[in-house]
């Protein structure tokens, strides 16, 4: 069974829920119209079409467009080597869709990462915590409206609650500023 045949089976089963397959560089992408149905579609893909291996889950921020979020699932069948990509849209007001953790266990950390980076919640995920950023961080850094330089935020926890000695420098030399001798405490004259 090739990837394109599996999309025909999906179409036969789910009808309008599944879009026409798009092929680009030999990869097949299928759009799932309703994010709420993603569990049923994924379950069918795994049980009936043999997509037993979930390669990756990614997220896109279509900033300025509606719906804002797109979740991308990369599926693979280890037996036949077929690959298929599901995409589904989620609106910004909702920012929530069902988790597929009951189908592939590997999705656990993928969904936590998407929640951490984009702020999209997965209903039914048993442990939806931040994973790369720390607990309590107020922003979602991969959103397009988050600046590359970052935003200041209070860092909770005891380890870094006080400013570090030499915080803010001396790392960069500014033209016309003090020389290293006057700037760095360790080379200061102790008598002054």
């Amino acid at each position: 069974m090739t990837s394109i045949e599996t999309t025909q089976k999906l179409k036969a089963k789910f009808g309008d829920l599944i879009s026409e397959p798009v092929e680009f560089r030999g990869e097949i992408t299928v759009k799932v119209a309703d994010a709420e149905q993603i569990v049923a579609v994924c379950e069918f893909a795994k049980k009936q079409l043999g997509y037993d291996y979930l390669v990756d889950v990614s997220s896109l921020d279509n900033y300025g467009d509606d719906p804002r979020w797109t979740i991308v699932y990369h599926l693979r069948s280890l037996a036949s080597g077929c690959e298929l990509r599901f995409k589904t849209d989620v609106s910004e007001e909702k920012s929530e869709l069902p988790s597929v953790i009951g189908i592939w266990r590997t999705v656990n950390w993928h969904e936590r990462e998407i929640y951490d980076m984009m702020g999209i919640r997965f209903r039914g995920h048993p442990d939806l915590r931040r994973i790369l950023m720390w607990e309590g961080y107020p922003y979602f850094p991969l959103r397009k409206d988050f600046p590359l330089a970052g935003k200041p935020s209070d860092i909770p926890g005891v380890a870094f609650s006080k400013p570090a000695p030499l915080e803010g420098g001396p790392f960069v030399t500014v033209a016309g500023a003090n020389s290293a001798t006057t700037r760095e405490p360790r080379v200061r004259n102790p008598e002054k």
């Binding site: 680009f24 390669v55 990756d56 896109l60 991308v72 690959e83 790369l132 850094p141 988050f146």
Partner: protein
């Protein structure tokens, strides 16, 4: 004035009841042990919260993210070529393989991945296999050291040093190689490089045999690794493991064979697989993979188009002025090439809008890049599927039931890099 202090010394029977009481209290009490983020056995900055019942782990919660640098965010803000140095820092034990993986992903998006000149393909394959040996050597050396066999570490690091020399002679840098460019390579290999590789292979075969003698039938090594942290086939697939960890569980899946890229189709090599899926199997798979890499390298140095010295002037870059920088001589003398140079440096190559995923068999597993382009020289979204991140997510299921002293063994057998896991 001297004071008198009474010291109560209970008899042995009283002491033993006292001790029994203490023991009674301890039973059922669980202790939470915070391992890492800075611990020699966590190979970087992995933190694991272990819940212990005596010496037995009842719960493990890995905590990653200490090395998060926001590589995906950074990628959205620069041209495709500018991101190549960042890939060195993903799996920093195999930067050459990361370079190749990223270049192939962008080339797939451009649609030129099947037009790469054969010489370029062979050089890239050699880079990947050297990187695989280098990464496995470090993983194995650190693994053995954590289990108590320090000699192996010294042996493997001696060999890694030679691979660093090879990387330096090809790319100019030992660690941050940035050797590939989109559509080719930074430069051709030096004429003596193939001989250097041959020399390395000769010496490495001896060293690998020595490591084999030290470990494979070593009673302590076998006893500590066998039947520990068994990953079944179903679990490996369900948890999305890749690379040697997947193959250690007996699944014959290698992207070099199953989805051949570069010139892997023309090369002879085998895919080792395990039978039980325990730590010992994963160790054996890595050992055999290094031998297969040697086999591939030997074929490559003999078959490389143009030969070692490239007397026939085989190209290493695709002949497309809109992707690859023109030669400097042309930039100074020809109008068209000056324009190409200017456009490539300022705007970058124009990647047509669309999305691609390319998975590459890296030493740690499948390193994938998902590129979503909306046209232009900057990716709209670049997702890195890092094998270490996904391989680590299994720890929470793997560790309960093992002893505290098994933790370094399990971590060593999973073989991860936090630079890649946290991105």
């Amino acid at each position: 004035m001297a004071t008198v202090q009474n010291i109560e010394i209970p008899d042995s029977a009283a002491r033993s009841t006292l001790a029994a009481d203490e023991l009674q209290d301890a039973v059922g009490d669980k202790m939470v042990l915070n391992m890492g983020p800075s611990h020699p056995a966590t190979h970087g900055v992995l933190r694991i919260l272990l819940e212990l019942d005596g010496e037995v782990i009842t719960k493990a919660d890995p905590d990653v993210g200490y090395l998060h640098r926001g590589d995906e965010k950074i990628a959205e803000n620069m041209t495709y070529t500018q991101f190549i140095p960042y890939t060195d820092r993903l799996d920093y034990l195999a930067p050459l393989a990361n370079n190749v993986a990223y270049a192939l992903a962008v080339e797939k998006a451009l649609g030129i991945h099947d037009k790469l000149p054969p010489r370029c393909q062979y050089i890239r394959v050699m880079c990947c296999e050297l990187a695989r040996i280098s990464a496995h050597l470090l993983g194995l050396g650190a693994f053995a050291m954590d289990v108590g066999a320090v000699t192996v570490f010294l042996l493997t690091f001696t060999e890694r040093e030679k691979i660093y020399n090879l990387a330096e002679s090809a790319s100019g840098a030992r660690l941050t190689t940035t050797y590939t460019r989109i559509g080719g390579l930074m430069r051709d290999i030096p004429p003596t490089w193939c001989d250097q590789v041959r020399q390395f292979l000769k010496e490495f075969a001896v060293a690998l045999a020595e490591v084999e003698v030290l470990l494979t039938r070593n009673r302590i090594w076998v006893d500590r690794l066998r039947d520990l942290a068994v990953i079944s086939k179903e679990m490996a697939i369900d948890c999305g493991l890749s690379g040697p960890n997947l193959r250690g569980s007996g699944i014959e899946w290698d992207l070099r064979k199953n989805q051949p890229y570069l010139c892997y189709k023309d090369l002879q090599f085998d895919i080792p697989t395990g039978s039980v899926g325990d730590c010992y199997d994963r160790y054996l798979v890595r050992m055999e993979e290094m031998r297969q890499s040697m086999r591939i390298l030997e074929q490559c140095v003999n078959k490389i188009p143009g030969g070692a010295e490239n007397k026939t002037h085989e190209p290493v870059n695709v002949a497309d002025g809109k992707v690859v920088l023109p030669p400097k001589q042309g930039v100074m003398t020809k109008m068209e090439e000056l324009i190409h140079q200017f456009m490539l440096v300022t705007e970058g190559m124009n990647v047509p809008s669309g999305e691609v995923y390319f998975g590459h068999e890296n030493p740690k597993g499948e390193l994938g890049f998902y590129i979503c382009s909306k046209g232009g020289g900057v990716p709209y979204r670049l997702k890195i599927r890092s094998p270490s991140f996904i391989n680590l997510s299994i720890l929470g299921e793997l560790m309960p039931g093992a002893m505290v002293s098994d933790v370094p063994v399990i971590l060593g057998s999973i073989d991860f890099v936090m630079g890649e896991s946290d991105r």
